[in-house]
């Protein structure tokens, strides 16, 4: 029961800071200006990694939810919860940056014919219901179980949703910046990959940080219970977070 999450946190955060710093430097001093979009395209280096990390975070959460259902170990539910929670924060930032990009290049804050953006919104809307769902289940064990089921279903939903939405859109705007297209110049690709690594490291750091904080809190509560008995426990307010 004495897992620690603080271990390696310092190294991880230093790595995240260095990589993100390098990514910023590369983005503004090394990568060339995009032929079509010009300076606006620099948003790409933050927006796309954020979006990718968000989706990976959701799937990461789903995998940990599978582990919870397999083992019944509440720590997996906690990990899944933090993974989804962090991914949601990243996702909202990704959505805002995407919206700014849309405004800058097409003049509208929101465009429907950008399938990735639309599917991304749908996925975010779905995962926004994760917290209300947890909050409305009182029994902690049931909360973990149902949240895990939801996380798995929603995790499987992510790729399916992308297929459906992509097929539903006609490509009105030229898609200069597809990753699959492979039409990215080498220097841009390098910058992009460094930013992706940086944002991934940031995600990992914050995940670990949050886990360490939650773990410390629950350890304090456990310590109080063993040292002073259950009667001294202050009742905790009902919460969406696993305890």
């Amino acid at each position: 029961m004495h897992t620690t999450y603080g271990k390696g946190l310092r190294g991880l955060s230093i790595a995240a800071i260095v990589t993100i710093g390098a990514a910023l430097a590369l983005a503004f001093f090394y990568a060339p200006l995009d032929a079509n979009q010009g300076f606006i395209q620099k948003i790409f280096y933050i927006h796309v990694p954020l979006a990718i990390v968000t989706l990976c975070g959701f799937i990461f959460g789903a995998l940990m939810a599978v582990q919870y259902l397999r083992t019944g170990d509440r720590r997996w539910d906690m990990r899944s919860y933090v993974a989804i929670h962090m991914a949601l924060i990243f996702g909202i930032v990704g959505l805002i940056t995407g919206s700014i990009w849309a405004k800058a290049s097409w003049g509208h804050w929101w465009v429907w014919n950008e399938p990735t953006l639309v599917s991304y919104l749908i996925v975010l809307l779905l995962f926004c219901t994760y917290q209300p769902l947890r909050f409305s289940i009182e029994d902690p064990e049931r909360q973990s179980r149902y949240a895990s089921v939801f996380a798995i279903v929603a995790g499987a939903f992510v790729p399916l949703n992308f297929i459906a939405v992509r097929l539903a859109q006609q490509y009105v705007h030229p898609r200069v910046l597809t990753l699959t297209g492979g039409n990215l110049p080498g220097s841009m690709l390098l910058t992009f990959l460094v930013s992706l690594l940086g944002i991934s490291l940031l995600y990992a750091t914050l995940w670990k940080y949050e886990m360490a904080a939650k773990n410390a809190r629950s350890q304090v509560r456990r310590l109080r219970r063993t040292l002073l008995g259950e009667d001294t426990m202050r009742p905790v307010g009902r919460s969406a977070a696993p305890s």
């Binding site: 009182e138 029994d139 902690p140 259950e230 426990m233 009742p235 905790v236 305890s243």
Partner: protein, 230 residues
């Protein structure tokens, strides 16, 4: 002969929590086959939780639960169908008739339909069996619930206040099904502890989820009873 058989119920260090609240803590006990265990305690002492765990409806958080030598919840499948639960709620659909309800349960338990008529006759409910349950009085519903609990002839009966809402005549009617004459292992709680004590071979007294007394009814005198309900 009896000693060689595994006990019908064996609990070792059973615990169950609801969040931070302890519902049961360190409950250990053995109930031999064919015996009657009375579970006593005030409201909220953990009686119903214990019954639900024994029925494999609720999973224990610590300790071992063996029913007929099968460990719960892992081997729950082997135990289901061998136990009958008479809970607070009748577990009957209000819109369906008594007979339809029992036939549904008979189908789930793969019991012959003839058995439905048999149990309905035993509690003298044949005449009202084709009315929707919502139109019946509480006593009649309780009689149907008894039918439901014993439909599949379970070897272990879990009875949560089995005689609630029953007048003495109805109580006598269900006696052959759920009383000592039925010859089943029984775990029962009651709103009337003295009546439960009179029926019991073993007593488990719970206070705030912990064992206050476990053993022969003879050792559980009035003073202890008063202390338990104080």
């Amino acid at each position: 002969m009896l000693a060689a058989m595994p006990p019908a119920i064996e609990l070792r260090g059973l615990a169950r929590y609801f969040g931070e609240r302890t519902a049961l803590h360190d409950v250990s006990l053995q109930v031999p086959d064919g015996a009657t265990l009375a579970v006593l305690g005030r409201n909220g002492a953990g009686k119903s939780t214990l019954l639900r765990i024994l029925a494999a409806l609720l999973r224990p958080h610590a300790g071992e639960v063996l029913v007929f030598g099968e460990s719960l919840p892992r081997r729950a499948f082997a135990v289901r169908g061998r136990l009958g639960l008479l809970a607070h709620e009748p577990l009957l659909y209000r819109e369906l008739t008594g007979r339809e309800n029992l036939e549904y349960h008979a189908a789930l338990h793969r019991v012959d339909r003839g058995r439905v008529d048999e149990v309905l006759a035993a509690v003298q409910m044949e005449r009202r069996a084709d009315e929707p349950v919502r139109l019946l009085s509480r006593g009649m519903i309780q009689r149907l619930a008894v039918c439901r609990a014993v439909l599949h002839d379970p070897a272990l009966l879990l009875l949560d206040e089995p005689r609630a809402n029953l007048d003495p005549a109805a109580s006598a009617l269900v006696e052959p099904l759920i009383g000592r004459p039925a010859g089943r292992t029984r775990v029962l709680t009651s709103h009337d502890p003295r009546a439960a004590l009179a029926e019991a071979d073993l007593v488990l007294a719970l206070k705030d989820g912990r064992v206050a007394y476990a053993g022969e009814p003879a050792g559980f005198d009035d003073a202890r009873l008063q202390e338990l309900y104080a």
